[in-house]
Each structure stands twice: as C-alpha cells, then as structure tokens.
Symmetry: D2
Subunit: 330 residues, 4 copies
C-alpha cells in the first residue's frame, strides 16, 4: 500500500482522492487545505486526517503527495515535498513562472524523487490510443497535427485574473499534446489571440479565442485553436496527418441515441466539460503514477514535460505581445 | 446500510459484488457458492463470510439477497429468500419452467417482499435514454420496434445444452426490450430459427440464428434478430419508429479513433461482449434495486416482467416447433 | 443509336426519357400516353413524336420500348411489344396478376426478345456495391438480411385503391432485394400487417405498416419492415450478416453539414423520396439496359425476376389473410 | 440561348463544356485551344467550331466566353474578351501577377462586362449550405474558421514549376473560402510552409505542406492546413465556430456501405479528387453564371473576389519568405 498526503480538497482534489481509493493499492493518510471544511469533508470520506503541511511531510510513513491546491502554491509544495523525499503527483501547471519551475525541477533532481505532472489528456482512452497507433507506425512519419480544444463556457473573471491568461491556463494542455504527438520539439511558435466571447475578458488583458501555429526543426507543423465558449459542450478533437494516413479522435457522448424527425436528425452533444470527458483519463493517470512509484518505473509525464509546456506557453504569450513568431532557445 | 447475502460467485456474481461495493450504501455479509474457492475469494475481497444457504437466510441482519447462481438454482433460492423475508435481486431467467416461475411469484407475493429481475439492458444509458424519450412523447405513438442482438461468438456446447435453447437463453432479453419499448403487450409471436453458425448446435436440437416477429393488440409490430456469432463484436442495436419520428440506439466503442489510409476509413469495433457493453447497466440496475429497497419504491423491473419474458420465449419456442404463429393467452 | 418508343409520359416516364437522352447512345422516336398534353410536352422536349401504340410498335426502326404507363396497361404492352420484336424495359410490377405475368413471360420467351424489369434499387450505388462485395466473399456465406424501407408519406387513397395493396406495391421492391441479397430463393414467407398511420387505409382493406420474414431452404433468414410514413424522409437501409462479417448500406443526404449548438448536434435528413434517393439508380439501370441490348448481353434483371417478386408478394398477401406462413411452390 | 466561345479544351474545359450543354440554355459556338486535336474533339462533341481567338471574339453572336486555358493566358484573354464586350467566366486564378490582375479588372470595369471567377467550392452543396446557414444566423456571429484542404497526391513537378507555388496554386481556394466564411476581410496573414512529402518539391523552391493563420480587423481568426498528399483521398473539410454554435461540412463518399468484420469497422474513403468531389459544384457555378448573365443579376463571385484571394496568397508568400506576419494594405 502506498501512503499519500493530498494538498487540495477542491473539485480536482475530490477526483484524485476518489481515484486513489479506486486503485485499491493506496491509502490516503492526510488531507491539507486552507479551506478547513473542504479538507475535513474529504478526509472523512476516505478515512484520512486533516493536518498541516509540515506534519504531513515530516511523517516518514507518507510515500507520495498529490499537489492539487491552487496554482500559486504548487512550487513551494513541490520543493518541500521533494526535500522530504516524497514522490510527487503535481497538477498542471507547476507554476506560472519559469524561474520557479526551474527551482522545482532542481529540487526534484537533487532529491532524486519521482515527479509526475498531471497532463490528464495523455490518458484519455481515445487520445492514448491515437498516440500509441502513431508510435506503432500506422500513419508513417507525422507531418501535421491539428488540435481543437474549446471550453463550454467562460470561467469566472476572478479565476481568469489569476489564471496567467488563456495561453498559460488553457492552451498549455494543447502545447503538451502537440509536443507529444509531433514526436519532435517545436522550435518556433506563432499566436493570434482575440477577445470575441466577452469584452470583460479583454478588459483584464486576456483573450478568449486563440489560434496558434508550431513548427519543429524538420518542418512538422501543428495548429491549435481554443475558445472559452462552445455552446454545444466541451469540444476536444485531435487529428494527425502522416505520410501514410490520418488519425483522428473526437468527442465522447453520453448515449448513442439518434432522433430523426421532421426537423432534423440529431444526436447527443459532446460530454459537457472536463470532469465528464476526462473521468477515465483522471483515473488512468493516477493509476499510472501509483504503478510507476511502486514499481520504480520511469514517469510517463515528467517534470521536464511540465516545464516544456510552460516554455511553449511563454513563447506564445510573447508572440501575442510582439506580433511576431518566437524562436525557442536551446 | 443495506446488508446483503449473495448466491453465486462466478463471473456475473463478481460484477454484482463489485457494484454493490461501489454503491457505498450496502455491505456484503455472506457469499454462498458450490465452488468453495470462488466463494472464498469473492468473500475475502469484500469482507464477507462464506456460509451455507440457511445461515445466510436465517440471519435477520440480512436485508436482501442477490441470486446470481446457475439458472437451475434460481427458483428454489427465490422461494426460500421470499419465505425468509428478504428483498430479492434475481438474475434472469427466474427459471426455464413457467410452472416454477409461477411458484416463485406466488411465494414473493405471499411474503410481500420486493423482487427485481435483472434485465440489465433496461439500464444501459443509451437504451434507457431511448425509452425515456419515447415516454416523453418525442416520437409520438410507437408503431414498430426493431431489435438487433448478436453475440460475438458461440458459448461452449456444454452451456448450450443446459441453456434452454437460444430463444429462452438469448432472445429472452430482447423479448423484455420489445415489451418495454412497444408500450403494449404482444398478443402473438412468430419465430424462424436456423442453424447456420455451427452444425453442432443443430445436433443438440438448438438454433444459432433466429428471427422473430411480435404483434400487439392494436397492431404494433416488433422484429428481433439474433445470432450466436458476430465477428465484429457484440452487436446491440435498437430502433423504434413512431408516428412522429424514429429513435435509434447503437453500439458503444472503446475509443473514437478513426484511421484513414490508402485502404479504407476505419473505426473501432463495438465493445466485445456484455461485460464491456453493459458495465454501466450492471452498475445502474443494482443501484436502482438498492435505492428502491431502501426508499420502499416500486421495483422498475418486477417478477412479473421476468415471467412475461418467459411467456414470450415459450410461445416463440412453440412457434418454432409448430411452424405457426402462437397466440398468447390472457 | 438505339431507337426507342416510350409508353407513359408521367413522373417516372419523364425520368426515363431524360436518362435515355443522357446515355448519348439512344434516340427517342415516339411517346405514347393517354394524357395527350403530357405526351406532347415530353415528346417536344426530346424531339420525339406523339403517336398511337400500333404506329410505334409497327415501326421497324424502333428497337426498344420503355413501358412506364399505369400498371394495368403493362401486360398488354409487354405482350404487344414482344410480338413486334422489340426489346422491353418494363417498370415494376409487370402486372398484379400472376396469370397475366406468365402470359407476358410466355410472349417474351416465344418472341425471344430481351426484357428488363425496372428494379431500380439494384442499381443504387450503395446497394450495388454492397451486393458486389457480398459476391466477392467479403462477409463469407450470407446468413441474415434485414431491409428497412419506409416511405416519407401516404400516397393518395385513389392510388392505394388500385395499387394492389402495400405488399404488392411497396414491399415488392424489398422482396426483390431480399432474393438478390440472400443468394438463395425464399421457400417460405410470413407477414404481419397493420393499419397504424391512417385508419382510411384500413377502411379500403389495405395496410400501411408491415413486417415480413422470409426463409430459404438452407435456413437463411430475411426481415423486411415497411411503413407508409417516415416523418424524417425516405428511409432505405439494408444490412446483411454473413459468416465473416456485416455489410450495411444507409441513407443518402443532400449535404454533409452538421450543426452543433446548445440544443443538439444535428445533420441532414435522408433524401426526401425515391426521385432524389434513386436518381443515380434510374440512370444506371437504363444505361445498363441499353448496353445489354446493344451488346446482346444477358439482362441483369429479367422478366423471371419480375415474376418471382410477385410470387413472394402473393405469398405474403396470403400469409396476411390466413395468419399462417406460406410455403412457396416449385 | 446564350452563345459561348470557350478557350481551353483540356480537363477542366471538358467539364465546363459538358456543364454548358447540361444547362439546356446555352450553345457553344467556338472552341479555341493551342492543342488542335483537343479543340477539335471537344468542338465535335458539342457541335462547335474550332477557330482562332479573334474570330471568336469578333463574332457579335458570341455573348460570353469561358476562359479555361492555361493560367498564363488568362489575363490577355480576359482583357481581349472585355474589350469585345463579352461576359466572362474565368477559371481561377486570374493571373499570378497582381499587376496583371489589376489590368484585367480595369478592362472589365471599363467595358462594363460581367465577370465571374471560378471559385467552384462556393458552389459545393455542403459548403454552400454551410455558408447560407451562417448567413441565416444559425451560429450567431462568426468567430473562428478552420479549413482542411489536402490533395490526394503530388502533381507532376513540371506543373509545380509553373504553378506559382503551393500558396498561389492550392491555398488560393482556401483563402477565398476563408474570406467568404469569415464575413470580414482578413487584415493580416501568417504562414508556415514545409517540404515533407517529397524533397524534389523543396528543390524547386516550393512547399508541399502549409499552415496559415488569418486575422480580421475585429479579431476573427481563420486557420488553413494544406498538404499535397492525403493517402486516403481528397480531404476537404470546413468548420466554422460562432457565438451560438458550430457548423461543419465534411467529405463526400461514393457509397454509404460499411463493413464490420474481425479486423475493423470500415467505410468508403473520401471521393478521390476535385473532379469527383466538386462535380456538382462545377455544374452549379456555370448554371449560376449563365443565369446571372441572362437575368442581368450581380455575379456571386466577382473579379474583385478573384483579386482578393491573390492578395492573400501574395501576403502569405511574403510571410513565408520573411518569417513574419504580413499586414494587408487598404
């Protein structure tokens, strides 16, 4: 049994705690959250105790931590957990500042602890199958990747203000997917961003609609489109073109029911949002982390992957600001 | 907490035990099975004890039983459980003999215990939504129902020999679906049956391919087609035609991945068999049973429903034997 | 250039005349119709002359005739055309009376003229491809055929009264498809028919909703469902199950446009009715007839095929009347 | 009857001549082509005469010309036809040089003749319906347009060398679609181009794989991806996102046949190339031109549209060369 302490008892924390329990191979010993009520409720549900950070990290019985608290707390927790010798599962992003991310990576490296960054989409059954089939050579050499990623609706402005902006908060997932599917590191990024959904987003200096292009050294190309609004539900689609064919993965639906009547032929909309669409992905990523810790296998998503997505997001932000494509350094 | 005893620790028993645990509202106290090893393993997994039938039924702390043992044991267990005052969840069919089924129904009626028959397909998210949308009037008055239900492959001959034959073992699910969707009781049945998959099936007097028609008093029509072989996976589709339109529900797939290459455009096959396709249905039916027992709500699938499907199967068997349509009695 | 006389200048006649012109290998010399205005208009459009039957049939320059007049005139025209030595393209059905059909076949046989019966669906690109792929062995040995064939709306009662009834007028197409796809002659037929769409149909002794089963000598099974109403358009689908897989062919749509919004995901309805759905089939069947006449190739749909569909329809009518399955004679 | 002279008797010329004939409202009087054999064959087929350019343009009976000769001859023919007072249907592009295009536009303006540029995709039934539904407000205000346009295979290098390059030869269609669907003029263009399909393309200074972004003044965004190779056929898809929903239009297939077997579930590939996919579009665009000339209605695709697509292509070429986004002038 792997013993966990979990930082964060909010919406995503609740998912991770439930998935931990479902692995049948872990126990949740501690829950830590600034919101005492949330911490208490979650701890009670899984037989854990509410403690403070140092109690949790100083307990030698704790093998691993889940960092699912607010983004601004991630870096300090990662560093502290690394120093305490714990295996780390960290929600994305590690931090909005690349300097702080590098401090985390240094701490993790020094402590030689395993660290996993929660890019859940890699564990979506359809996206995982798509990537595996590319890896098996089904479409030959990858040439172009097209990622559509559109949220059903705007989050609260209060959230947006601390989110780091659409490219760091939302596109970051797509940067990771693009890297993962291109099979080569992007060397240049170009981004357009607009405020089309709600002028209030523009007033706080953010965008709600972006289109991005990426280019690798050998000339492979990727496109990402994002919107903070999709009236029909969470739109998460990927297509990859290779020298021998095309692989696509689309949205999931709750039922296969189709109605045909005098008005139209209609089917279900995509599952509403990430909790529904990526329920299986959340389960699979945590099970993968647990297995990798237990069996001392390499982490399938590393702190370095977490860093690289942030590097791409920073470059895209700079492209948006300067109106120019941005070369990535070595 | 509702306390359960479960009869049967085989494949379907394992599913029910897991789903019981997942409800979070039940405890499994006893497991009973002629296969001691299976019983012990399952009991161990859920903190239950292996006992004999009378111990389980005589324990006043047991609120409900799951009857998931072999078909020939169902009737005796239902009757005993009813006399012991337990709520009953019984796998289909109740029994292959209508006389025995009626004895069960009488015992249940006399004991005034709730009984649920496990027609899991009613709880498949797609079929449940289809039926709910008919009930909401989306397609007006139902006129025709078409059910395709095809297994991926032949079960062992040893199983077929005790199965009661294809119409009683396989089509019985479809008879239940037809009744449920037609919104009226069938009054006549006609069946054709052939042995096309494997001559060995014919040699034991069974069929592996059937087509059935049903008619209700007002003239509504239903068609069922079955095969014991579908090379592409478990084929489970329904379409319902009404005065205002058509509702269809199709197969489920593991991923949405589509490959286009120089050979074809191809997608996933249907989920392989009932364990995969109806995983959600099994969860939902048990949760529904538990809730109905706890809240003393009417059972959504009753012993009477179980009986009626058997009546239709018997009539279809008679049609097959006589080569004539068979009228159903009052 | 093959020279034609065409009997019938109505809706279907207009289609055949246009398709004749489009072959680029024929000339239409005569149009004959009791409706002088229709005949004149059609003749003018294609540079033909309006004449009476004997003028047309006595002109040695006429190589072939199209019989697209009302059903009750088909037999006499076929017999007269055969005696005049013309190649014959005859709309289905040849006649509603099997005795008259046999007289036609005898006349055609005696005159040794080629005759084609217009079962247009065999020339639908999707159905033709489906049949060709069965013939190529893609799904192994055929086991079950399922045909859904549903009209968008009721024809006028005046038409229904002289139509011969739903099984002879509508299902006849499906009987031909079933024979063609089963790869064996049906030896028994069972039919249910109801009046669910409009009571007026029942008052003239007809049905508007039927379900039929067919069985061949080796036990292959087919199902046909028909309705005179489909609010969503002309519903024409076929599925064939074989020992190695399943082939399906569905409806055609005018556009591939899909709308996703807050209400649903919706696509086009099936093409409205036979003129739209089978436009390509009408072109292909006539081109095939012309080529077969010119190159003295065997007709792909023979007078015998026309007869056999009528035999099945008669058997189904008898089944409906007697409530019993009907064996077909040798 | 509108009388035509047609310049060009090649592949696309043959399509236009056939479609002219099919309108039933035109006569083709002259065919002009440097390839005498091609001109003679086409003229013979439609009862036209082979003449030289001046004979055709000086004949006052000629109402309109089709310019379907090689691209380098378009401009001179357009100017000469305009001066001769003929209505002009010109294949895209008008010319590869913007200066020459402007000379054409000036000549057309001065002569006050109607001119149509053959952006056939606007007349594809699916794309036309998509645009009409946007115009009807079905998805509210347009926000993002995504165009996938991929050819089945590389054209001969000899063609590529005189094509003006991928952005001018291939993407030009997509630039027109983007303008048409965005509902606003792009004000900035950014392009990436690579040589991934065949190094020989790079050796002649061209690309075979491009990704483009466009931005309008109000911030609407468009993405185009192109490849000179799609092993699965001609890939032509569009999606448009608006404030109220998403509209998509996909590929067309020859048949609706679906095969399910032990390997996969597979369907037809997209129609092979533009002749198949856009057959209906070619018919519709010419019929629209004829009707607009006859009824003196405004041209739905103008010389100005032709020019604007070239402006976008030039800007994209400059972006590719400079590695920077390019602002469009007033």
């Amino acid at each position: 049994m792997l013993t966990f302490a979990q930082f964060g008892a909010g919406r995503i924390g609740a998912i991770h705690a439930a998935n931990l329990a479902a692995t049948g191979a872990t126990s949740l010993r501690y829950v830590i959250d600034v919101n005492a009520a949330a911490a208490t409720a979650l701890a009670a549900k899984y037989g854990a105790r509410v403690v403070d950070q140092s109690t949790a990290l100083n307990d030698a019985a704790v093998d691993a931590v889940i960092v699912a608290s607010s983004t601004d707390t991630h870096a300090a927790l990662v560093i502290a957990a690394a120093r305490a010798g714990k295996a780390i599962f960290c929600e994305k992003p590690i931090d909005l500042s690349l300097r702080r991310v590098d401090q985390c990576l240094a701490a993790v490296k020094q402590a030689r602890v395993p660290m996993f960054v929660g890019f859940n989409r890699r564990f979506d059954p359809s996206f995982a199958a798509l990537q595996a089939r590319i890896a098996q050579g089904e479409i030959g050499r990858v040439e172009q990747v097209i990622i559509s990623s559109r949220d059903p609706g705007l989050p609260p402005l209060a959230y947006l203000k601390v989110s780091g902006g659409q490219l760091r908060d939302m596109t970051i997932h797509d940067f990771d997917m693009a890297r993962w599917l291109l099979g080569e590191e992007p060397v240049e990024v170009f981004a357009y961003g607009s405020c089309l959904v709600d002028p209030a987003v523009g007033q706080i200096g953010d965008t709600d609609s972006v289109m991005v292009l990426l280019k690798t050294a050998s000339g492979r190309l990727a496109h990402i489109n994002n919107s903070r609004r999709a009236t029909y539900g969470y739109d998460q689609r990927i297509e990859v073109h290779g020298s021998k064919g095309r692989l696509m993965a689309g949205n999931r639906v709750a039922t296969t029911v189709e109605l045909a009547n005098s008005a139209a032929v209609s089917t279900d909309q995509p599952l509403y949002f990430f909790l529904e669409r990526y329920a299986e992905a959340y389960r699979a990523e945590l099970a993968t982390f647990v297995e990798a810790v237990v069996k001392r296998k390499p982490m399938p998503v590393t702190a370095g992957d977490g860093r690289q997505a942030i590097v791409l997001a920073e470059a895209a932000v700079k492209s948006l600001r300067t109106g120019r494509p941005v070369r990535l350094g070595k």
